[in-house]
Amino acid sequence: MDVFTSFYGLIPVTIAQSLIVAFVVLGVMLPFRILNFPDLTSEGAFPLGGCVCGTLIAGGVNPFLACFVALICGFIAGCSTAFIHLRFKINTLLAGILVMTMLYSINLRIMGRTNIPLFTYDTVFTLLAGALANLPWVKILIVGILILLVVAAMLYFFMSEKGTSMRAVGASPDMAEAQGINVGTATIIGVGAASALSATGGSIMVQTQGFADVNMGFGILINGLAALIIGEAITGRQTILRQVLAPVVGSLVYYQLISFCLTLGLAPADLKFATGAFVLLMLALPNLRKSGGGFAVREKVRE
């Protein structure tokens, strides 16, 4: 029973972590599912948010303001990816890789070094909860409320007139254009907003872990994708409510699974392989079920 007690003990910490990563999962979901724009910018936007926020906090800036600036920086990063794709007709994935790679240098330049410790500075958590800030349940409460607000706002937006037209851009760009929707603008704003979410996740992460690191969040995108897929398997995708809830549910379940596997004895070194294999399996499953050999028809996404 030793395994279970140690897993049980980790549950609150894991929940806190998964709620933070839920921002990134929302940021993965939005371009991928709503805009039909497979986007990798999150992998760079997450550390960008962390580095910007960490540098500002270490420089004495109010942590709330630091988070907001991180959000804006993420937004700009996402807009750049979408712009590169739209203006130069570069494949969405390649555009994302380009931006993500360039962001690594930018992150280093912003911090001026690879790591900034933040233990001695005020964070949004110490400002809100004082001495209780380090309790996992306090973090869960604060981040939980925040993510709830974000989900509610996204849900409302996607049911509003503007949000409906953004969804149309992903569902059928030709139709959207014929209805007078500016496909380019909607794509840029949507992908930008997604990276803003990822960057916000990064900015909260550095404040809970107590340091900003240029290598933080390596592989976060695949984690996010895995969480999204699990979430969608649980909630489904039939309505916009389910689609928006999927990232949060998926993140909560996914990180508990990971934590469980680790306590069972999975070597941390194997974690990325296991995650990758899982995502591959889930993506391949629909085509495995189909009878007949040959190559599966390519999934219809923008290039």
């Binding site: 409302y156 937006f157 049911m159 509003s160 007139e161 503007k162 949000g163 409906t164 037209s165 969804r167 149309a168 569902a171 059928s172 030709d174 139709m175 959207a176 254009e177 014929a178 209805q179 007078g180 929707i181 500016n182 496909v183 039939q238």
Partner: protein, 264 residues
């Protein structure tokens, strides 16, 4: 002289200009439509019918020439800006609607065509009631399925929905791009009947591309026959009454032979 609802003057579009593959999709095209004209566009493959429609909708920017709608020059407007004047039904039922979105949401998108979209809630109960009413006229039962994703509908149902979406907002110009070509004959007839009823009732200025000679004879008050990016034959309202398929084919051949004789 009456004011034109649509006027295309000297519309020219050349693909691969200056290369061996140079192709004149539109070559000095001139078309004028009066308000409430229902114009059928026919011509063989590659005659420029689709290019014509795409040029009007703004999807294909002209190299030279002018396009104006209801007296307003739209030559330089993007497709999404022109959408305020134009509603379009595509040939492919998959393109004209957003398949993963519900019938109600698709109706909402169409209602706001070319209008400012705000942050207010989209599918209000007032709108739902109005959409149900509009869809009930189709007699397809769609009015009871506002929350069903459009992707679950048959091709005919989707084209009918596209049509309602297009006409319900009183566009200045309705573009129909072989919108019944992908349907089985019975459904095609149904969609065509709905089209004619809507166009006549609402007095919509309409451009309809078709390959179907019967459609060209039976519907509309004008025929434009295209060849090599130009208008080869234009048949006006007086002449169109009582015209037959063989008349049409004769006119086409006489004209193209005449051109051939001139060594053009």
């Amino acid at each position: 002289m009456t004011k034109n609802m649509l006027s295309v003057t000297g519309g020219t579009k050349i693909f691969y200009r200056g290369t061996q593959d140079e192709r004149r999709a539109l070559d000095g095209l001139n078309v004028n439509l009066a308000p409430a004209d229902f114009c059928i566009v026919i011509g063989s493959n590659g005659a420029g019918k689709s290019s014509f429609l795409n040029a009007v909708s703004g999807k294909l920017p002209l190299d030279s020439g002018r396009i104006s709608i209801d007296g307003q020059d739209v030559t330089r407007l993007n497709a999404h800006r022109r959408a305020q004047f134009i509603a379009r039904v595509f040939q492919d039922p998959m393109i004209g609607t957003a398949p993963t979105m519900t019938i109600g949401e698709n109706m909402l998108l169409a209602e706001l065509r070319g209008k400012r979209r705000g942050f207010s809630f989209g599918l209000t109960s007032a709108r739902r009631a109005r959409y149900s009413e509009q869809l009930a006229e189709l007699n397809l039962g769609l009015e009871k399925r506002l929350d069903m994703p459009v992707g679950l509908l048959s091709g005919g149902q989707r084209q009918s929905l596209s049509l309602v979406m297009a006409v319900s907002t009183q566009p200045k110009l309705l573009l129909l791009d072989e919108h019944t070509a992908a349907l089985d004959p019975r459904t095609a007839k149904l969609v065509m009947d709905t089209t004619v009823r809507a166009v006549e009732e609402l007095k919509l200025t309409t451009l309809m591309v078709t390959h179907n000679m019967e459609h060209a004879i039976n519907y509309g008050n004008r025929i434009v026959m295209m060849d090599a990016g130009k208008v080869l034959v234009e048949i006006g309202p007086e002449e169109k009454r009582g015209i037959t398929v063989s008349d049409l084919i004769d006119r086409f051949h006489t004209k193209s032979d005449a051109i051939a004789l001139q060594g053009n």
